[in-house]
Amino acid sequence: MHYDLIVIGCGVVGAAVARLASLRGLGVLVLEAAHDVACGASKANSAILHAGFDPEPGTLMAKTNVRGVELCRDICAELDVPRHEIGALVLGFGQEDLAHLELLLERGRQNGVGGLRIVGQAELRALEPGVSLEATAALYAPSSAVVDPWELTLAMTENALANGARLELGARVTAIRRGDGFEVETDDGRSFACHSIVNAAGVEAGAVHRLIGGSDWGSRPTRGEYYLLDKSAGHAARHTLFQCPTAAGKGVLVSPTVHGNLIVGPNAELIADGHATETTAAGLAEVAAAARRSLPKLPLHENIRNFAGIRAACDADDFIIAPSPVDPAFINLAGIKSPGLSSAPAIAEMALELLGAAGVEFVDRPDAIRGRKRVRFRDLDLEERQRLIAADPAWGRVVCRCETITEAEIVAAIHGPVPATSIDAVKRHAGAGMGRCQGGFCGPRVQALLARELGLSYADICQHEPGSHIVLGPLGAPVTEEGGAL
């Protein structure tokens, strides 16, 4: 099989490219090193579709941000991805910040962001009653939205697959040979031939580019730590609350999520290891202190999870969206830090333009599948629920009690186009374990469903990546002296 295009990496950028390319008639293969999609920065970020007032006018970040969120509006509607346009407020603390707000307002206007205006303290407090009394003004961006980044990535991937694309999970690219097109080798010894490549490998993009003799871009992985609060705290803020950005990033935000939780973070810490997603006491304390500046009564005791994400930043100030100097049919999408989630669909458009320039031909596909529907039990009315339960009793059995996720939804995720084969993948695909008990109740039940549906033993089921087993084996099996390591 000779593919028109191999996309390396299935985060939100790779998924957007795969979807668009499949809609435009390319034969697409997506290679993802992890065992699920959206396992890098797409998994752990602020989940904001930024209005677009922050990036410097004229940059790729500015261009793709504004275009990207416009495209996202339609994509989310077509693919049934939750997206709420809750608006954002950049809080100004005193005179110095006011000048900064004016600058952001002007940038936003140049970038083509609609509806921006600066509000005074009275209006700010009306919009956001819990905000700090120290906040004297704010830039109001009504078009800022929140989204489910996992669902967006999954939905675009599934849409690509529905239109003929192929996805290989657990397929880490180890070598790329150039000849007539490319031959791409993965760590399991397989090789795949293609005409062109899009490198969307996130923090690994530099390493992937080096496989064809290209340079990397001085990778600067930057970790951001977060709190995720229970839905009971979801109303502590009504908008996404930013502070004035600094050189380090957009700063610590407080925002409702699309699921009704409250997200708090991130800090920005340059780290050596692009996979070091652990949280730290110091980092979390920094986030808490900064967030309380916006929202003094932030109910952090309602925390249900901490996590950290790695921004795939590099030495370049802007996104890298360009053909490789080594080969024009090898398109690099690198250094996709914030606003990468917002920009992804527009980055995909640019990637396809670059592929066209490299001689790739597209065809119109009037038959292409553009829609996707996901059935969520909790959103249905009684009659619809009754109908589903009558057809399949698994729709009546609630497995995740916090989020009211049924067995049928979990089974559907396990056997979905992108199969969810770990506890965490089921969480991302079906929502089970996302709630206040964080899988304490449903974890063993999801594990049982995974074992049953995949024909595996309990002991084979992992939390996330291979090796993250939850139980060791049957009770009574021999144990080593002193309880040896796993």
């Binding site: 009546g396 009211t404 291979p466 993250s468 939850i470 144990v479």
Partner: protein, 450 residues
């Protein structure tokens, strides 16, 4: 107890949950004369958490013998076997009176003023609204998870709550780890320290942030001391290590006042499993969604001596109301709720006025939070817990600034519930409200007083 056949009729009492609280409440409702009593249970068997508590120590108060958890549940099932109480298993309650826990836009329910609606979903029972004159909330509690204590570090497998580990080991028959550290000294953690040791694992330490344990003294003796498992008081886990499976934890001593880790006291434990026993949270999502007033101290509903919540006809009991130390007390409290629910359903008597009972001093909460005026004519049991251990203490019942009565108590600890029987003769002196105060008692001063 019989499987439920007719879901369309108007029930006298619907009990949510077939754990120890729900079983005792349903039994008492039947004994009080209610004949249409239904228990809804999301598991396939009744018994609740008792089914996985295979250790003994249950039933000393009520049955005067030491039973295991399943045996204790079995006693109640035997008692219920002679009744017409109905049971609906594999069925979860997802809403009360038109309010679902996950707030969907779907459907609004309308009820007659004296009828409550209980929305269920189940593989066999379907998704529908049941009708009842009275509802007893007996959903129990859940364990605080890693997020609840914002434990930093990586996120490998091998970190689980003590209760989840108990389920894996005792119900499913799987080994959860070989080298184990336990964070928190709640009772389930202590029980699991012994259980895992008996199953061949090595429990390296039980680490407790506070200078005292939150568990029962008998569990510290029988589950840690008897197995030479060190209890590190005033310590906490400050980092977890490992990407896939847990590889170790860093433990440090904490400053007794600030509870912040003390630099230089770090020690590393090479372990594949970290059990969390860091608190229990009453499972009140249904209660909250239904708009029933909650007490921020107990995280359960505000109730009067009949266990009736702020919503007439809705009662609460057991660990959904406040976290108990012994199951026997859950049963006793739940019987009270069941009887009152039956009386409400059968007579639909108007609720009398009530006055507030507030905790003060070293008492962190008191249940019931209200007493009805008619309840003041009978002796009542008040439950509570102290914030910190008090070797010698006195409990004061006050009303409008006047001390009505005082009781001396020894060895009050946060891990053990206070049960205080207050005679009617004292309660009858209550004015506009009652305050129950716990104070440390300095015996020397007391004796020297003229």
């Amino acid at each position: 107890m019989i499987p439920c056949q007719n879901l369309d009729r108007l029930f006298d009492v619907i009990v949510i949950g077939a754990g120890p609280a729900g079983l005792a409440a349903a039994l008492a409702a039947w004994e009080e004369g209610a004949r249409d009593v239904l228990i809804c249970e999301r598991a396939t068997e009744p018994g609740g958490i008792l089914d996985q508590c295979i250790h003994n120590g249950f039933g000393l108060e009520i049955f005067r013998e030491e039973l295991t958890g399943p045996e204790y549940a079995g006693r109640y099932l035997d008692l219920l076997a002679g009744t017409g109480v109905e049971l609906l298993t594999d069925t979860m309650v997802i809403g009360i009176d038109g309010h679902e826990t996950t707030e969907p836009g779907a459907g609004t329910m309308s009820a007659a003023p004296d009828v409550h609606l209980v929305r269920i979903t189940g593989a066999r029972s379907g998704c529908r609204d049941l009708r009842a004159r009275a509802v007893v909330l007996a959903m129990g509690c859940r364990e605080r998870s890693r997020g609840g204590i914002a434990l930093p570090g990586s996120r490998p497998s091998g970190i689980l709550t003590a209760g989840a580990a108990q389920r894996y080991v005792n119900i499913e028959g799987w080994s959860v780890g070989r080298r184990v550290v336990i964070l928190g000294s709640g009772d389930i953690g202590l029980i699991m320290a012994r259980r895992l040791t008996l199953e061949g694992a090595r429990v390296l330490a039980c680490v407790e942030l506070l200078p005292w344990s939150g568990g029962l003294i008998r569990n510290i003796v029988q589950c840690l001391n008897d197995f030479d498992i060190p209890l590190l008081l005033g310590h906490t886990v400050i980092a977890v290590h490992g990407r896939r499976r847990l590889e170790g934890v860093t433990v440090a001593a904490v400053d007794p006042d600030s509870r912040r880790p003390i630099p230089g006291t770090e020690q590393h434990f090479d372990c594949d499993t970290l059990l969390l026993s860091v608190g229990l949270i009453p499972e009140n999502e249904l209660t909250r969604a239904a708009g029933i007033p909650l007490d921020s101290r107990t995280r359960g509903a505000v109730v009067d001596e009949n266990m009736e919540t702020g919503t007439p006809g809705i009662f609460a009991c057991g660990n959904v109301l406040h976290v108990h130390d012994l199951v026997d007390y859950v049963s006793a409290e739940s019987a009270r709720a069941g009887r009152a629910a039956a009386r409400y359903a059968l007579s639909r008597e108007a609720r009398p006025d009530s006055l507030a009972v507030l905790p003060a001093g070293e008492l962190s909460y008191v249940v019931p939070q209200r007493l009805t005026r008619s309840g003041l004519g009978r002796s009542q049991t008040l439950y509570g817990r102290v914030r910190r251990p008090l070797p010698q203490a006195q409990l004061l019942l006050e009303s409008d600034g006047v001390v009505l009565a005082r009781w001396k108590r020894e060895r009050l600890t946060p891990g053990e519930m206070i049960r205080l029987n207050v005679p009617a003769v004292i309660l009858q002196q209550a004015g506009s409200g009652l305050v129950l105060r716990a104070e440390p008692l300095d015996l020397t001063t007391e004796e020297e007083r003229p």
